[in-house]
């Protein structure tokens, strides 16, 4: 069992090993939905929510079903199915019982099934041999790290819209160069807590 402290795990997944900028998970929504601030925040909140739910569902199933039954190799299939089913379920429950929340988050949910950050955090929690509390904190940190990266980057991109950019670099290339600079600033966190 991994014995890293909860606070170190939180800072680790939030800043040091930021999911988007250091581990390259969830790049598609990072590039696709970060044009404006409000969808960026909506998407990130939905990601945090689903990440926590996914960890709460996949972790016990792995520990109490897959390991005793010696079916560890089914991890990938089982996890992706759980996440897909969970997203559907969350959508239905929110729609029925919390319509205001559904209105603000609902539209992002279908996009999240194929978001590699969600499956990534579920697998990482197992790989790093975290306990349940550590896994939940790690997921929270990863989700908040995603939010942080999205919000920072949406700010940068809103400025890019009005900047004068050489013709060939317009669109995606300049966006990636900007992401490179944002990512460079995160190198500064490297080595915190010896993570």
């Amino acid at each position: 069992m991994n014995s890293t402290g909860l606070f170190a795990i939180l800072i680790g997944s939030l800043l040091v090993n930021n999911f988007v900028l250091a581990q390259f998970l969830g790049i598609c929504p990072f590039l696709g939905v970060s044009k404006k601030l409000s969808p960026a925040v909506g998407m990130s909140v939905a990601v945090i929510f689903v990440m926590l739910m996914a960890t709460a569902a996949t972790y016990p199933i792995y520990m109490f079903v897959l390991i005793p039954a010696d079916l560890k190799y089914l991890q990938t299939i089982v996890f992706i199915l759980i996440i897909a089913a969970l997203v559907q379920l969350v959508e239905i429950v929110l729609k029925r019982y919390v319509p205001p929340l559904y209105k603000s988050l609902g539209i992002y949910l279908p996009l999240i099934t194929t978001n590699c950050a969600v499956l990534g955090v579920a697998i990482l929690n197992i790989d790093k041999e975290y306990g349940f509390a550590q896994a939940m904190v790690n997921s929270l940190g990863a989700g908040c790290g995603f939010l942080l990266a999205m919000v920072m980057f949406a700010g940068v991109r809103e400025r890019l819209e009005v900047a004068e950019i050489p013709k060939g670099l317009k669109g995606l290339p300049i966006t990636l160069v900007a992401a490179s600079l944002v990512s460079m600033s995160f190198i500064g966190f490297q080595g915190l807590f010896g993570l």
Partner: protein, 245 residues
């Protein structure tokens, strides 16, 4: 007939290169290309899954009901991903270690789901296999190119062989920041080349919108549009109407 088969294979190599032209599967592209050999390993593993899942989905395309096709595709892809994970772990443990969690994450690589949805579910087995092989080769070539550049500049080696001290290693290129930068430059280059040599103007626009070819692009786009114009509610109503159909 021959032309059709050749076209099914060759389009993925350059014209519709999944990484540099359609900009799909960006996560593994950026994450594993710190060395050329890792890029190659990832490319081959993804190609295997892509070809197998294209064949399987094409064979079953008439059996899978339209409403559950995406979950069905995901299960098929996850099955082949598990097989590839086992093979890599057994035969090339060093690659398994280098690729880490990105190996199971092939399952959410949007190139594979994208080809299943856009091609294999509509075409014959032979064509789908060639399409998978072509797209996989294009992905592998792009990863190899990017891995080669990053390894050469960042570590000063080529396939782990010293480059003879041509340039001192510039570590930033093997760090995440360098990944974003090299990828940006390669897409710029690909855009320039296609402006020059591709006479089909419609294709030039392909990566204007980052996610044009992503399976969930239409949805994503609608989300962003409706959010920005304050019509989120309308999108939901439309979705509900779609669901009720």
């Amino acid at each position: 007939m021959d032309v059709k088969y050749r076209e099914a294979y060759t389009k993925g190599l350059i014209k519709e290169n999944p990484t540099l032209r359609l900009v799909l599967g960006t996560c593994p592209t950026l994450a594993v290309t710190t060395a050329a050999i890792n890029g190659l390993g990832m490319g081959v593993a993804a190609t295997f899954v892509l070809v197998c899942s294209n064949i399987a989905i094409s064979l079953m395309r008439k059996m899978i009901p339209d409403k559950v096709r995406l979950p069905a595709f995901i299960v098929i892809i996850a099955g082949f991903t598990t097989i590839v994970q086992m093979l890599v772990k057994a035969y090339t443990p060093s690659i398994d270690k280098a690729l880490g969690i990105y190996l199971p994450l092939i399952v959410v690589n949007c190139i594979i789901l994208g080809r299943a949805e856009a091609y294999a579910s509509k075409n014959s087995v032979g064509l789908s296999a060639l399409d998978g092989l072509g797209m996989g080769s294009g992905f592998t070539a792009a990863l190899l190119l990017m891995g080669g550049i990053r390894e050469f500049l960042g570590k000063g080696t080529i396939f782990n062989w010293p480059n003879g001290g041509l340039i001192p290693p510039i570590t930033i290129f093997v760090l995440p920041a360098g990944g974003f930068f090299v990828f940006g430059m390669l897409i710029w280059l690909a855009n320039r080349l296609s402006d020059k040599f591709d006479d089909d103007a419609s294709r030039r626009e392909t990566n204007e919108n980052v996610c044009a070819a992503c399976p969930s692009a239409a949805f994503c786009h609608q989300t962003v549009e409706s959010e920005t114009s304050g019509l989120a509610a309308a999108a939901i109503t439309k979705k509900e109407a779609d669901n009720n159909e």
